[in-house]
Assembly symmetry: C2
Homo-oligomer: 415 residues x 2
Amino acid sequence: MAGPSEKSWTLLKASVQPRTGPCGGGTCQTGPAVKPFPAAAWRLDPTRGGPFCMGHVKLHIPGPVEVSERTFRAFCQPMIGHRGQGFKDLYARLQPKLQQLLYTRRPVYLSTSSAWGVMEAAIRNLVKRKVLTCMCGAFSDKWYDVALRCGKQAEPLQVPWGSPIRAEAVDAKLATGQFDALTVIHNETSTGVMSPIEEIAALKRKYPDVMFIVDTVSSMSAVKLPFDELGIDVMLAGTQKAFALPPGMTVFVCSEAALERAATVPDRGYYFDFLEFQKNAEQNMTPSTPSIAHVYALDAKMDEILAEGLEARFERHRRTNQMVRDWTARHGFTLFPDPGFESRTLTCINNGAKPGGRVVDVPRLQQLVRERGFLIDGGYGKIKGKTFRVSNMGDETEATMAELLAAMDEAMKLL
Amino acid sequence: MAGPSEKSWTLLKASVQPRTGPCGGGTCQTGPAVKPFPAAAWRLDPTRGGPFCMGHVKLHIPGPVEVSERTFRAFCQPMIGHRGQGFKDLYARLQPKLQQLLYTRRPVYLSTSSAWGVMEAAIRNLVKRKVLTCMCGAFSDKWYDVALRCGKQAEPLQVPWGSPIRAEAVDAKLATGQFDALTVIHNETSTGVMSPIEEIAALKRKYPDVMFIVDTVSSMSAVKLPFDELGIDVMLAGTQKAFALPPGMTVFVCSEAALERAATVPDRGYYFDFLEFQKNAEQNMTPSTPSIAHVYALDAKMDEILAEGLEARFERHRRTNQMVRDWTARHGFTLFPDPGFESRTLTCINNGAKPGGRVVDVPRLQQLVRERGFLIDGGYGKIKGKTFRVSNMGDETEATMAELLAAMDEAMKLL
């Protein structure tokens, strides 16, 4: 991939003036900053190859996460026609990289949409009788509602927020024989719970006619998800989570059984028709005009991911996640997820949502951390303020996480 | 908007090495280039503020079109959370600019999808009984098929490719009372035909219960489209056409009547539910995570558009389009569209698709033009090779169009 030289990019970035207005010129997240960004907001980040930040608050929310300069360089390459050989070449060279990441021989599709587009698509393409929606947080709960809005029969399998989905409960439901599909979110971003996908996926052998639809939005690329071995039917993720790309694209993969099922389901439409994705994939294209910039960036990101090595990448996420868990314990907080089911890409810290541990003023904590150049999340939905969340997704290293945690340490002293 | 200085950007671009491999490193469109890009592929483009091209073939296909460095600069600003105040501020400041462009008081929605997503959405949201699909080219023809795939009743109103949709024919169909919606493509990109939208829209007064869904994919922002005055119900466009942004986002606007209709239509789903767009717009947000980069770029582009002035912009497109039409006549070709219905954003040149005028080897012409640094289109669908297309959408000026046409002149000499 041709691109600007490191030196020029550094020159470019160095020339950017820090923003001095409130909120860094409108880019802060949770309300006006009390003062202009301090010098600390300017940092040399060796993983990014240049001065970084431009007064911007670095994102440690659970998506979108921070996008590296390297990724932006790939993202802003000149446009090409999406039906020409140039695009087909790009698509073709990206495919095996994505297949390697997902441990699959199936084609990996690219949808120009957020993950919800493909989450809805999976319902429209695969549900004929009734879908079991496994619910353990804001996003998995919402999937039930989305299924109903598509005019499909759906039944909830609800567990308390903070708890995972377990195979035993799923098995009991599927045994009724009512369902031809199920939805489960592997890493429920709102609660920081990672459900044991292996034990759930193992049920597929028992229920081969049930379509297993798995949202791995905030875990794909950070955790090993061997699609073929799991034997599930659909797996999807948005690019703005662990891939650390800007939002706007969803990566997904379907089993052959899923395509066979889709072929029997009416009213799939066109834009999200899985068979259209397959038909176009065979020609290294997408059904509709794709976000070419995202495809460029994903291609570059996959090079980075494979250069790091998949196991090394998974381990890095485990280590950086452990750093946040250690911080949590050091400051007297507890974790919101049930023990043993904590996500490795984000940490959902209990702050009164359930008994035990310390409770602080979360908006104040966020503000103090923001003044130090970092954005952490203040909790989502009904546990907003009663939890807070810190992401270690994407390009974060032990060094960059240490910077964040130092800022959080400082903030805690001022609470 | 903060961003890199002009000097740094120029430095960055100047440092980029030209690509010397075949196809400029995989970015050429229609097959391997016969030789490395010549020095001519490097040019100083005053509209772009720096050395331009990097060996890239400049796009004059009817979308995606060339994206300026200024737009890319906006496109690659640091990410922000899409539920935070920073995004809400961005959304809120963009709204009145889009409303000004479309001469509307209605909110203008942003969909993270290609235009087909919203074209399908309009069917799903608005059709209860039967939709009349006005068909005059590849894209409008396909809309009929998409309606059927959504499980809706549809009836074609087909005219020959090259002819426009006229109000009289639409009136005759609507008079049957069978329809509660119609689709029409204002500027059919495959044939270069611009249908007279004013006379079609005037029928809305006679058929207030029929939803008028108008695709302005390749005309919006280049031609005056006063939404409120037209009185239509849905108008939409992809960002990679006349807006000259990268593909990946669709801009659309709905009448109040459209929202009222949608409220009565079941199975709208979630991702493209018009009521969700409205509900979120009221809070300066989108229903799902948007492509934030596109929103940044659109905001910057709207500043450019309004600084140029809408009338001046429309006139510029008229003039640059006339330059292509003049070139066509000068070389003995005829135009494919019926006289009086030629698009102002792209020119579809007859090359044997219908009687009259010159006929050349289009792939050879494309190749010769490509070797000179420009990509033109070789015709679409059933008129591929029997027509060819040249776009003047986006940022093109008389100066940049003159460069293209000079290269096309040279190419013609070698045919």
